[in-house]
Structure formats: C-alpha cells, structure tokens
C-alpha cells in the first residue's frame, strides 16, 4: 500500500484530501456505531425473543415511548447537521480557487484530455504540475460531458461543452496519479484515462520550456512517433494490425479504403491530412464517425510529422 492509503481510501495527495478523508472516516465510524445498534440490535432481539417450541404468545401492548422516540430523532439530526456543515465547508474550499494559482486549461474531447499551459505549452492525456503549488484547472469540452477525476486528490469536476467549470488542487506529493474520465461519454469512456505527473517546481519549469518549443530538435518521423501516443491516436488506432475504434495504422499509406458512401479511395498524404483535420469528411466503411478533429490542436508541422510517421508504417 502507498503511504497513507487505508482500507477504503487511496493515498491522500492533495491539500483537501485530508479533510475529505476525515469526514469520510467520521461518517464511517458514526454509521458503524449506529448500524451496530440498530441492525445487530434487531437481530439480537429477534434471537433473544424467538418463539420457543413454535407457540405464539400474547405480547406487550406497548407501542409507544415518547422519550425513546425523541432520542432517536434528535441524535441522528444532530449528527447530520454536523456532517452537513463539515461537508459544505470543505466543498467551498474545493471551489474557491486561491488567487495565486497556476492556470491550466483542460479540454475533454472524445476520448482524451487536452491541456494547455501558459506560454503555449500543451500536452495530451498527461497533466504535468508542480508540487506544493495550487493549480487551477479550467475545464470545458468540445463534445459531450466528461469529468475530470483524480482519486488521489479527491477532486472531480464535470467538463461541460460550451461552458467553463473550475476546480483546483494543490498536490502534496510528487508522483504519477491516475486521471479518470468519470462522466460516461461513449465508446472510449473507459479508455479516457490519463495521468497527473506531479514534479518538483524546477522540473516543471524545465518541462514547460521544452514543451513550448516542442519537437524542434526531432526529425519529423521521430516527432510523429511521439505525437502518436501523446496526442492519443493510440487510443483508437493500433500499429500492429488489430482494428480498434479506428482502423489500424499498419500499412495505411497507399492502402485502398472503402468509404461509407461506397466509393474507394487511396490513402495518400492529402487524404491522411484531411482525415486528421476534418475526420468527418470521409468515413471509412465499417467504422463510426467518432474521430475528433485535431484542427486546433495540432500545429502544421505536427500534422506533417504524423503523416511522415504513418508513411513509415507501410514498409
């Protein structure tokens, strides 16, 4: 088990996580006590007062006890009022973003996350943040509702199409954490898994710098190979010949494709380019028109890089 992981909860790795866990444990304990009283009490009474040798008996006429009734109304009421205020105060904390927070934009798209940092840096499915600094995530979506969920941070917020929502966290621990899409969004919902990489502040700055000028040093093919995973093509396209949500990239270049409208087309540079930027224009038969557009996500050079990379898969 990781540090701080309990029977129920994963390791708390953000500043609010501790508070959430405290309330969780409080309810857990209070409920367990009440549960023992009510349920095991009932079972105990049932056994203690079981019918002996199958004979029914007249029983007590008592069906009323004001004192008891008040007790079992008041005590739960007090408990839930405590729980309510406790829960609400942490909830507010989760929603009020500290002033000095780092700002990152996250966009959910079927079925990956696109992150944009200041200075034009960006990443797909991997959120890189510095440890010990509050980070504000401004969420939105380009298609349906997704939900940004990092269990270790105990935060979750839906990403809505055409609207911004916000959440924030301050990681207390370096490491790599799962990032799930928690709102059902279709075929690839369960594959919409990313990671949050919490690094030291120095590493973060370095990363930002490298990323902002991404791929300058690489050849087109190398860059394309990197983009294939970092831009999430691999969630739908394999390179080993197995069809997935989308057709495989193995041998794609020069391949004869049958389109949904019945026509045939040979996959050349232009076709591939169009498939990436305007995927709905030509749909390969046997597949759903679910590929997202990369219009505003990929730079020109990156599209070129992908095309070059795909070419290499055909020999």
């Amino acid at each position: 088990m990781d540090k701080g992981e309990s029977f129920f909860l994963p390791a708390p790795s953000s500043t609010v996580a501790g508070e959430v866990d405290a309330l969780f444990n409080f309810i857990l304990i209070a409920s367990t006590v009440l549960f023992f009283i009510v349920v095991f009490g009932s079972i105990f009474f049932a056994i203690r007062y079981r019918r002996r040798n199958g004979k029914r008996q007249y029983t007590s006429e008592k069906a009323h006890n004001t004192k008891l009734e008040i007790i079992w109304t008041i005590i739960p009421t007090i408990l839930v009022v405590i729980v309510f205020f406790w829960g609400f105060s942490t909830y507010l904390k989760m929603h009020v973003v500290p002033k000095d927070a780092l700002q990152i934009k996250a966009t959910g798209q079927k079925w990956f996350w696109q992150f944009e940092y200041k200075d034009g840096a960006s990443s797909t499915n991997e959120l890189v943040v510095p440890v010990g600094k509050p980070v504000e995530i401004t969420l939105s979506s380009t298609d349906v509702i997704h939900s940004f969920y990092v269990p270790n941070f105990r935060i979750k917020m839906d990403a809505l199409p055409n609207r911004y929502t916000k959440t924030w966290f301050e990681a207390t621990q370096e490491g790599t954490f799962d990032l799930f899409c928690a709102e059902y969004c279709g075929t690839g919902h369960s594959k919409m898994i990313g990671t949050v990489k919490v690094v030291s502040e120095r590493e973060y700055d370095e990363w930002l710098e490298n990323n902002a000028i991404s791929g300058e040093g690489l050849s087109l093919v190398e860059l394309g190979e990197k983009l294939y995973t970092s831009k999430a093509c691999n969630t739908c396209h394999s390179i080993d010949g197995t069809p997935n949500t989308g057709p495989t990239f193995q041998g794609i270049f020069g391949r004869q494709e049958k389109l949904q409208d019945g026509t045939d087309i040979t996959a050349d540079e232009n076709y591939i380019r169009e498939s990436i930027l305007n995927p709905q224009a030509k749909i390969v038969s046997g597949y759903q028109p679910v590929m997202p557009t990369y219009q505003n996500i990929l730079k020109d050079r990156e599209v070129d890089a992908l095309v070059e990379y795909l070419k290499t898969l055909s020999n």
């Binding site: 609010v16 959430v20 309330l23 309810i27 409920s31 009510v38 009490g41 009474f45 049932a46 007062y49 079981r50 004979k55 029914r56 008996q57 007249y58 029983t59 007590s60 006429e61 008592k62 069906a63 009734e69 079992w72 739960p76 839930v80 309510f84 406790w86 829960g87 609400f88 942490t90 507010l92 989760m94 929603h95 298609d143 349906v144 509702i145 939900s147 969920y149 269990p151 270790n152 105990r154 979750k156 917020m157 839906d158 809505l160 199409p161 055409n162 929502t165 799962d178 799930f180 928690a182 709102e183 059902y184 279709g186 075929t187 690839g188 919902h189 369960s190 594959k191 898994i193 759903q288």
Partner: protein, 558 residues
C-alpha cells in the same frame, strides 16, 4: 386428496377459465398476477444482463462483449431494472393484489383503469424491446444530454417507451389514492390502515406528482433530438445541466417510489412474525408521507460535481440529510417492535432481517454521498453503484421477496418449501454482499462506473464481485424453481398460516372472486397482537376467548 379440495373450492383463479377471462379481467387480483408474470420476466432479463456485465468485468480486457455492447448492456440493465421492474414492481403486483384486500374493499376504485395500466405497461415494454432490437441504446439509464441528443441508436423509441410506462405508473397511483380514500371497509379508520397501505399511499403521491415531469423531460429530449429546440443541447443554445435537473426531479423521488412500498411490507412482516403490536404506528405512517414530500426537494444531490451553483448544492445537501431521519425513525421502530416479541424465523422474516442489514448499509452510504465534499470524491464511482444496489436490491428487492414469500400462500393457496426458501435467503444474502460490498471498496479507491475496462489494480476486487453475482444468480434460479413448484404442487394452506391480523387473512386462500363473503366490519386494529392471537385459523381473544364472530366464519356463497 387435500389438493382436490383446493381445486374444488371456488376462488379467483378457477372461477372463470380460459385465456380471455384473464386478458379481459377487471379483478384486481388477476391483474396483480398478470403484473407478477410480466414484471418477473423483465427482472429475469435485467438480471441476465447484469450477469453479462459481471462476466465482462472479470478481467480488464475484452472477454465477451466489446465496449459498445457493454455500454448498451448497462444502459438496458439499468433502464429495465428501474422502469420495468422496480418502479412498477411492488405497487403493481402486491399493491394491486393486496391493497383492496387489506382495507376490506371489493376492488380498486377504477378496475378498468387498472387493466388499462397493465396494457399500457405491456405497450411500453414492447417499445423497449423494439429499441433493444433496433440499434439499442447506449446512453446510460439517465439519458444525459448532449450525449443522448447526438448518439446513434434507438434513443427515441426507448424514451417513448418509458414515456408510455409513465402512464401505467400514473394510473396505478391514481387508483390507489382513490381506493384508500374512498373504499375502506366500514370501521377502517385512517389509523387502522395497515402500514403497507400507508406505504403505497405515499408512493402513489410520488407517482402522481413526479411521473408527469419524467414524461415532459423525455418529450423535450425527443424534441431536442429531432428539432434542436435549444433547451438541453449546448450546440443549440441549451444547457445540459438543466436536463439533469429535469431528470432528477423525477428520478430522485422515484427511488422512494421503489423503497416506500418495500418499507410497508417490512412493517407488516416484522409485526406479524414478531407477533407484536407494531411500535410507533403513527411515526411510521407519517414518516412515509414525510419522505414522500421531502424527496422532491433533494434531487440536486446527483449533481454535486455537475457545475451547478454552490448555493444549490448546499441546499440540496442539507435537505438530503433530512430524508435520512424519517428512514431512521422507521428502522428504530422496527427494532423496538422486535423487542420482547414472539419472534419466528420464517422465510419472510429472514428477508425482513436481510432488509434491515442491507438497507442499513445502503442508507448510511447514502448519507456519505449526501455529504458534499465526500460526494465529490465518490460521485460516479462504484461506490455509488454499490450504494444503489444496496438500497434497491438489498432494500427494495429484499422487501419484495419478503412480501412474495409472505403472501405467496394467499395468492395461490399453497405453500412453498421452507427448506429451500431458507437456503435461498442465505445464498442470495452471501452472494449479494460479495458482489456489492467489494464495489464499495473499489469505489472509494477511485474506480469509475460505466467502465468497460479498468486499470489493473482493481482486478482482484472485480473478479471477486463477479463470483458473488453468479452466486446471486444461482439463488434466484433455486427460487424460481421452488416457487413454481409451490404454485402447482405446494401443500395447501389454510386462511391464515402466519397468524396475521390484517384483513387479507380472514378470507380464504386463494381469495374468491369478490374477496370477502361479505364486507368486513373492522373493529380491531391491524396489529393488536396484545389481545388477539390466531391459531389454526381461529381468532382467539385474550379477554373473551371465543372465536372472532364475524369474518372468520366459513360461509358458502355465490
């Protein structure tokens, strides 16, 4: 020989014969039975789908179905279980059959409407089946926009089907309210009503007030799909969160449609098998009404992470907790009823105790989900899945099974095998906890729901959960076998095998066509076990040890 006697005696089952006499019957008992078969059929279908879901989740990679089919599976499982099984379930089967009997009426207020509700149910289910076969649906049972407004498949025919089912629910609701108001037997005052009647009454109020909103919601969804009216779809200028308000305005109260009648059954069963006056009759009765009304004010607790305003979240969270208190009042009163009772452990009582155990867990985890900060972590994880299976399967279905076993001898005049029945309770109880307790742990660890595959860390828990589900499946299989056997071959029973005091037990088993030989005159309370005891179908009064004069006498008539 005994068997022949039962067949010779006239009852609602054999008074008229032939398929037509069933399809055109206006007898609430027969309609109840027709509902029983229709609803059980869909429970079976939904259950089989659940088993496929569990099968697929044994390992993270694909085993039997692909992602798209999986999405359709849980959608259909959810939609069938909710709209075709659990919402109509107890009211339409047991309410129909026993409510009039329990209040000493000859029928429900509007028998024709009652029959219509069955046909409407069938019509709605035909739409559902049609959608399954024509492209199916993959939206989740909640039909959230904008996913549902642009995904492919048979969303329109499915929502239309559910829209139609809504009418069936409304018809039942109207019928019950009027029946309880107007058709009580002489002497049956409001506070002599059995608690099951109070439960169905509160349920009917919700059905009438909430179901139309589901109807209009689904209509708007359909219009959004065909015409882009711009209410829910952001592309057309709408707001998807608004859809969630609309949907949960119905669907939260709907969860109390599911649980309140089950709670009514539990009140009956615990009192009867403890042979003791129910503790806190009025608090139990009024808490049903309280739950029914407050349930309309809490829907936003399904939307704590949806981007709704913090103010709304606060209000909804606070009100959510208020619902816990009346539920608690019931639990405490049941405990006090058992105290110093004369408790027997027949099958219905075992189900009732399972109910207390499982609904307790389900309810307390509901409280966790109601707490704002904790819900942020738990929302849309398997914790929620576990919560609602504990309250629906562990609560409602246990209550339903308690009722089914409690009233089975009255419905058919024959008894099932106690041995097999008790064995089944154990099998289902164990399988259930294996299946769903593991899901609590997965949920708190962060396993999101509606996932076709998952990260490896959850593998052992998922596998364990799946094994549990097959055990449940086995349990139901045994149950189907012994109940069917009991229907035809079971040992005939007398009027009142459990020694219960509510009115359905003063008539013969199975009851005859007009329920009672003559309209009962009610003088005793439904739970006066302190002064009445029934032995071998004889009502023995503590102070005047003579047979109950009036209703208990056998009379040959008709």
């Amino acid at each position: 020989m005994a068997k022949d006697q039962l067949n010779a005696q006239k009852n609602y089952l054999n008074e008229q014969k032939g398929i037509k006499s069933w399809l055109f019957t206006l007898d609430h008992k027969r309609i109840g039975i027709m509902y029983l078969f229709a609803i059980m059929f869909f429970f079976f279908i939904g259950g089989v789908m659940a088993l496929f879901i569990r099968l697929e989740l044994i390992r993270p990679e694909e085993i039997v179905v692909g992602a798209d089919t999986y999405n359709q599976l849980f959608t259909l499982h959810g939609a069938i279980m909710i709209f075709l099984f659990i919402v109509p379930g107890i009211p339409a089967i047991m309410g129909n059959f026993f409510l009039p009997l329990m209040i000493g009426a000859k029928d429900v207020a509007f028998p024709r409407l009652n029959l219509a509700s069955w046909y409407v149910y069938i019509l709605g289910s035909v739409f559902a089946i049609y959608s399954i076969m024509n492209g199916s649906v993959d939206t989740g049972w909640t039909f959230y926009t904008p996913y549902s407004s642009d995904t492919g498949g048979a969303v329109i025919s499915m929502t239309l089907g559910i829209f139609i089912l809504g009418f069936s629910s409304i018809f039942t609701g109207i019928n019950f309210i009027v029946t309880i108001h107007k058709l009580r037997a002489p002497g049956m005052t409001w506070f002599k009503l059995p608690l099951f009647a109070w439960g169905t009454y509160a349920t009917a109020i919700i059905q009438v007030l909430a179901t139309p909103v589901l109807g209009i919601t689904l209509l708007l969804l359909i219009f959004e799909r065909v015409m882009g009216i711009g209410i829910f779809d952001p592309a057309m200028g709408g707001d998807p969160v608004l859809y969630q308000h609309f949907f949960w305005f119905y669907s939260h109260p709907a969860v109390y449609i599911m649980i309140l009648p089950a709670m009514g059954i539990i009140s009956e069963v615990i009192s009867v098998f403890s042979n003791k006056k129910i503790f806190g009759y009025k608090p139990i009765a009024f808490s049903s009404l309280g739950i029914a009304l407050v349930s309309f004010l809490v829907w936003g607790h399904h939307m704590f992470t949806s981007g709704q305003s913090e103010l709304a979240a606060m209000i909804f969270s606070f009100l959510t907790f208020l619902v816990g208190i009346p539920s608690g009042i019931k639990m405490f009163n049941w405990m006090a009823t058992i105290y110093k009772g004369s408790v027997s452990f027949d099958t219905p009582m075992l189900y009732a105790l399972s109910f207390l155990f499982l609904f307790g867990i389900g309810g307390f985890t509901g409280i966790m989900l109601g707490a704002l900060s904790v819900d942020v972590h738990l929302h849309d994880t398997y914790f929620v899945v576990a919560h609602f299976h504990y309250v629906m399967m562990g609560g409602t279905v246990m209550g339903f099974l308690a009722g089914l076993h409690y009233w089975w001898p009255k419905m058919w005049g024959r008894m099932y095998s106690e041995y097999w029945a008790k064995l089944t309770v154990a099998v289902i109880f164990i399988g259930f906890n294996m299946t769903f307790f593991t899901q609590f742990i997965m949920g708190t660890k962060g396993m999101p729901r509606r996932y076709h595959s998952y990260v490896d860390q959850f593998q052992p828990l998922h596998a364990f959960s799946s094994v549990g589900s097959f055990i449940i499946g086995m349990g139901f299989f045994i149950m189907a076998a012994y109940l069917l056997h009991a229907m035809f071959r079971g040992k005939p029973v007398g009027k009142n095998p459990w020694g219960a005091l509510t009115l359905e037990w003063i008539t013969s088993s199975p009851p005859h066509h007009h329920n009672f030989e003559r309209t009962p005159l009610v003088t005793d309370g439904p739970y006066d076990y302190d002064r009445i005891m029934v032995e071998n179908d004889k009502w023995i009064y503590k102070d005047q040890p003579v047979e109950k004069p009036d209703e208990s006498q056998e009379k040959v008539e008709h």
